[in-house]
């Protein structure tokens, strides 16, 4: 689709301060995607979604069975953009301070020093987040929303960019604490990796027999460029028809489900659409961007009362029924 039409080079000549030209960001996204796909076989769409989430200042929830490469995906993206990467394995006995950090008494200086927790990273992987008790979950989710951490009355800003990629274990449901609905809402996207196809898996096996490609993965850009790219994404124009379209989609889900999409969800949808527009080389969002992002951005925010219909089905219906502006 992107190849079929020429990218206009207009209105990108004088980007705002700190922002990059649209074409630069577009190229950057392609480079990251290519780089990551060296490690992750298949799942091109998921990779794109994670990249647009990072650019759109969102967080990602990966809902999957173990061993499909969730951690590898997060790590390869972090490496590609040359950002700090930290990983928290959530367990039932994990404490909030294990995530945020703790004040430690320094015997030499005879003062308390803050030992920052794993949350202080550019890209944080929260593995099996639903295994930790709600209190610990809340610590991470609070950091996601505020982009800052408060311990013992001191508030500390988290680094920029800050993106949480949390995974959720879909098996063993009796040993997990389900994420509260309100907290799921804080993730911009919920993605599924799923198993690779036999061909993909064969290729994956071929790559990982020797050295794991993640070890030789190099960065294609740096942290500053990523920050600038995020700046660019936020300047993408969202015209009134597109806003109306998003609002109508949300309204549809509210009318056809027990709990529909929250306004926070609609905001996330438009941010994702902005990022999506940039990856397609446009400085304006079109309904197609919204349509591409809606299934992953809206589905997990919808609570249905029926057993046979889930949020995904409601969003599919909405996309089918709501007329495009």
């Amino acid at each position: 689709m992107t190849d079929a039409n020429p990218t206009p080079e207009r209105s990108t000549d004088s980007p705002a301060d700190g922002a990059l030209r649209i074409s630069t960001v577009e190229r950057l996204c392609e480079e990251i995607e290519t780089n990551v796909s060296n490690v992750i076989v298949g799942h091109d769409e998921v990779i794109e979604h994670v990249i647009t989430a990072v650019l759109g200042r969102g967080h990602v929830l990966l809902d999957d069975v173990p061993g499909v490469g969730k951690t590898m995906l997060a790590r390869s993206i972090a490496t590609s953009v040359d950002c700090t990467f930290s990983r928290v394995q959530f367990t039932p006995d994990l404490l909030p301070s294990d995530v945020t950090g703790v004040n430690v008494f320094n015997q030499k200086t005879r003062e308390f020093e803050f030992q920052s927790g794993p949350v202080f990273g550019n890209i944080v992987l929260g593995d099996e987040i639903n295994r930790a008790p709600p209190k610990t979950q809340a610590a991470l989710l609070e950091a996601m929303e505020e982009e800052q951490v408060t311990t013992d009355g001191t508030t500390r800003d988290l680094p920029t960019p800050f993106t949480v990629i949390a995974t959720q274990n879909a098996v063993e449901p009796n040993r997990t604490y389900d994420l509260p609905f309100a907290e799921v809402d804080r993730f911009m996207k919920k993605l599924h990796l799923g198993y690779p196809s036999p061909d993909e898996e064969a290729e994956l096996l071929g790559r990982t027999v020797g050295d794991h490609p993640i070890d030789s993965l190099e960065a294609v850009t740096d942290r500053e460029t990523l920050v600038a790219a995020r700046e660019t994404v936020s300047t993408v124009q969202v015209a009134a028809p597109v806003r109306t379209y998003a609002a109508r989609l949300a309204a549809y889900t509210r009318e056809h489900a027990h709990i529909g999409v929250s306004p926070r969800g609609t905001i996330s949808l438009l941010r994702a659409a902005q990022a999506r527009a940039v990856t397609n080389g446009r400085d304006y969002a079109i309904p197609d961007d919204v349509q591409t992002e809606a299934p992953v951005v809206l589905s997990h925010r919808i609570k249905t009362d029926g057993r046979d219909r889930d949020g995904t089905a409601v969003v599919e219906d909405a996309l089918e029924r709501v007329p495009v502006e």
Binding site: S11, I286, P287, D288, P323, V324
Partner: protein, 769 residues
């Protein structure tokens, strides 16, 4: 958020535009206006009545007051209170009416069956004008429906608000007072009120009113083709003497009404014979209320109870025996009748004015005897009678239509300037009419008030015009007078025997003189009338019309000194003193004798083909009639055409035909250019139309890009391939709609592309290229 699904596409933008033009507030105004139209329809009917009997101002004041009160109270009182208020208003109104009609309230309550039968009589076609106190009745009738319907409408209950108004209009339809147009207007108002009220309630848009327009058109078209509104009461027992277009039929169009028409004919057939000591005018009807173009007899008739009221003063009595020579729906008597004897009296009704009438028509050979009072007062006595009229006389016999012009009053004043008393005034008016106007049956009916038109604008007419005008002039001068119809004396065939034919039909005037009673005046010039009538009878005899004579009358020459129908030939002159002073009466026999004497009309015999109808329409007014008719036809056709045009437009809007047409044209012609962005959008809309025809239409939930992407790619089969330029159009469309716009040059380029694509699709040009 608007519920309009795709306000972005061209055709929807227009409907949104009209929505903004006429919002919910506008629809509410339309609904209220429709209620006003409905109210207006029945108030207009009531106004027509008050125009005749007076009280238009009171009516308007009352209606205005009710509208104001309803507007104010709509926010204050609850519907139940309003209903009680309206009911009590109606109750007070009718109580007032009944008391002024002279009916005690107690009587009303005790005789509900009489009240019920009155209502039934009204609802089965008794015109309101026949009511004695029609003016007060309208004032009693109007407030309740006006108040209630407006109150409910202001509260937004349009459907309910139509009920009182519709009931009021329906009642007037049943009485026969509401004509087709008024009824139609009222019904359209009612439909409109309900429809617009519903639109407002359901938050509809004025764009949905197209269905309503179709409904209106259907209603109008149906009512034009099928008219079920009873315009006139048509009593089956009523028998009109003479065929349509004859003078008799005109005078006697219905038992309660006497119409005034244009040109009339005379029937030479014998109606009845009278055996009487005196030859007088034979009265058959008395009318008191003038509407401008017809006379109405107010009040209900009562069964004859053996005696009629006698005149106040001294009088002679005369007895006459009347024998019907044909089927007769009337009962000719010498005024003023005192009693009627005979078999027919069982079925005789007597009007409030003392005129008997058979309830079932008299058959040929039926006869009855009447004793009548003939007022035998000398002119001197009548001159000295003064003006001390009883109240009931002034109440009934001074009515003038409310719209009588001042010219009419001025002219009357001028004519009667030199007179000192009512009798002289009447004589002067009679003399003036006799001398200033000519007798003719060939007149076309004037529009508007007949009395005014005749006095001020016409040179000739027949008895109806003369009598009507004189009655109105007398009333203008404050002298109680009434319009009476009947027959003149007829042909005297024996010592005390008279033959009366259809052509003797006549109308004249009775003037009330205190202490004496009703005195006859005849303002119709005798000479001209006698000529016309003699000619007509001679023609009929020449044509061998058997019905024109009885056995006794056919041998009697019509000019044997007992000349037809002349009051002056009355051998009992004193019986008719009031009209005696006027000389023309006396000249009548002379006039009669100047006619061809001693003939039975043989030498006057004319061409049989036209003899039966001496009053065929004159050629002089044919042209006028034709052009008038043409104008009418054109106007009606125009109106009907307009109605159908509205229906067509609304139907087209409803079915989307107009949209299709616009789209069809729009595919090939871009139209006027404006803003580059709008042009780019419009270009894509056109492209979409083209693609829809070639591939498939875009689904509403499909984005433009998704649509184009789903179409066959460029590398597909050549014939089916998508032109790569389509992508450029899509690109520009997206930038114009969602981005920061396109330049003029880009827009023009896109338009050129779409123009080219469209031409390729044209069946003929596309093949040539």
């Amino acid at each position: 958020m608007s519920t309009d699904p795709s306000s972005h596409t061209g055709q929807r933008t227009i409907s949104i535009g009209t929505d903004r033009l006429v919002g919910t507030g506008g629809i509410r105004l339309l609904a209220l206006a429709c209620i006003l139209v409905l109210t207006g329809s029945y108030v207009a009917v009531l106004y027509d009545i008050t125009q005749v009997v007076g009280g238009s101002r009171s009516l308007f004041a009352l209606v205005g007051l009710m509208l104001l009160a309803a507007t104010v109270l709509a926010r204050v009182i609850r519907p139940r209170t309003a209903g009680v208020l309206a009911l009590s208003a109606a109750g007070i109104g009718f109580a007032y009416y009944l008391t002024s009609a002279g009916v005690e309230l107690g009587v009303v309550l005790s005789s509900t069956d009489a009240l019920l039968s009155d209502t039934v009589a009204l609802a089965t076609g008794l015109p309101l004008l026949r009511m004695v106190q029609a003016g007060i009745w309208t004032l009693g009738f109007a407030p309740a429906p006006v108040f209630l319907s407006w109150y409910l409408a202001v509260r937004g209950r349009y459907g309910l608000g139509v009920v009182p108004g519709g009931a009021a209009l329906g009642f007037l339809v049943l009485t026969g007072d509401a004509g087709t147009i008024v009824t139609l207007t009222g019904i359209l108002g009612a439909i409109g009120a309900i429809a617009f009220g519903d639109l407002e309630r359901r938050g509809g848009s004025i764009g949905q009113a197209d269905l309503l327009a179709v409904l209106f058109a259907v209603t109008i078209a149906l009512s034009l083709s099928v008219t079920v509104v009873p315009g006139q009461p048509t009593g089956p027992t009523h028998l009109v003497q003479g065929g349509p277009g004859t003078l008799e039929a005109t005078i006697d169009s219905a038992p309660q009404r006497s119409g005034i028409s244009g040109q009339v004919d005379l029937s030479p057939e014998v109606r009845f014979t009278v055996e009487s000591d005196r030859g007088t005018y034979w009265r058959t009807g008395v009318y008191d209320r003038f509407t401008g173009d017809e006379w109405v007899r107010t009040g209900q008739s009562q069964q004859y109870d053996g005696r009629l009221s006698n005149p106040p003063g001294t009088y002679d009595t005369v007895e006459q025996t009347v024998t019907a020579e044909t089927r007769l729906g009337i009962m000719p008597v010498t005024p003023q009748p005192l009693s009627v004897d005979g078999d027919v009296t069982r079925d005789t009704a007597v009007s409030r004015h003392g005129q008997p009438r058979p309830e079932a028509p008299l058959e040929q050979g039926d006869s009855y005897t009447v004793e009548s009072a003939i007022i035998d007062s000398s002119p001197a006595e009548l001159r000295a009678a003064g003006t001390d009229y009883p109240d009931e006389i002034t109440e009934r016999y001074l009515q003038l239509p409310e719209d009588s012009s001042s010219e009419f009053a001025d002219r009357t004043d001028e004519i009667t300037a030199g007179t000192d008393n009512p009798y002289e005034t009447a004589t002067e008016i009679e003399r003036h009419l006799r001398t200033s106007k000519d007798y003719s049956l060939k007149v076309s009916q004037p529009a508007g008030n007949v009395a005014e038109e005749f006095l001020l604008g016409m040179d000739e007419g027949y008895c109806v015009y003369f009598a009507t005008t004189m009655t109105q002039m007398l009333r203008e001068e404050g002298i109680p007078a009434r319009y009476v119809t009947g027959y003149t004396t007829g042909q005297r065939i024996g010592e005390d025997e008279y033959v009366v034919r259809g052509l003797d039909a006549h109308s004249w005037v009775e003037v009330y003189v205190p202490d004496h009673g009703w005195v006859k005046f005849d303002p119709t010039p005798g000479g001209g009338r006698a000529d016309v009538h003699t000619d007509r009878l001679q023609e009929a005899r020449a044509n061998g019309n058997d019905a024109a004579d009885t056995e006794d009358s056919e041998d009697v020459p019509i000019d044997d000194g007992n000349g037809i129908d002349s009051p002056g030939s009355d051998p009992a002159g004193p019986g008719d003193p009031p009209s005696d002073p006027a000389p023309p009466n006396e000249t009548e026999p002379g006039n009669g004798s100047t006619d061809d004497p001693g003939s039975n009309g043989t030498d006057n015999g004319t061409d049989p083909t036209d003899s039966g109808d001496p009053a065929v329409s004159g050629t002089s007014d044919t042209d006028e009639t034709l052009s008038e008719r043409l104008v009418t036809v054109v106007r009606e056709t125009g109106a009907i055409g307009l109605v159908f045009l509205v229906a067509l437009v609304a139907g087209a809007h409803r079915t989307g035909a107009a949209t299709h047409l616009r789209q069809g044209i729009g595919r090939y012609w871009h139209g006027f250019r404006g803003d580059p962005d709008r042009d780019a959008e419009r270009a894509f809309d056109r492209l979409e139309g083209l693609l829809a025809r070639r591939y498939r239409p875009r689904r509403p939930s499909e984005s433009a890009r998704a649509y184009v992407t789903s179409l066959p790619e460029t590398d597909a089969d050549d014939a089916d391939a998508l032109d790569p330029r389509v992508w450029h159009v899509l690109e520009c469309y997206e930038r114009a709609t969602y981005g920061d716009g396109v330049s003029r040059a880009e827009a023009d380029e896109v338009i050129a592309i779409v123009d080219d694509l469209a031409r390729n699709q044209l069946p003929i040009i596309g093949r040539l290229r």
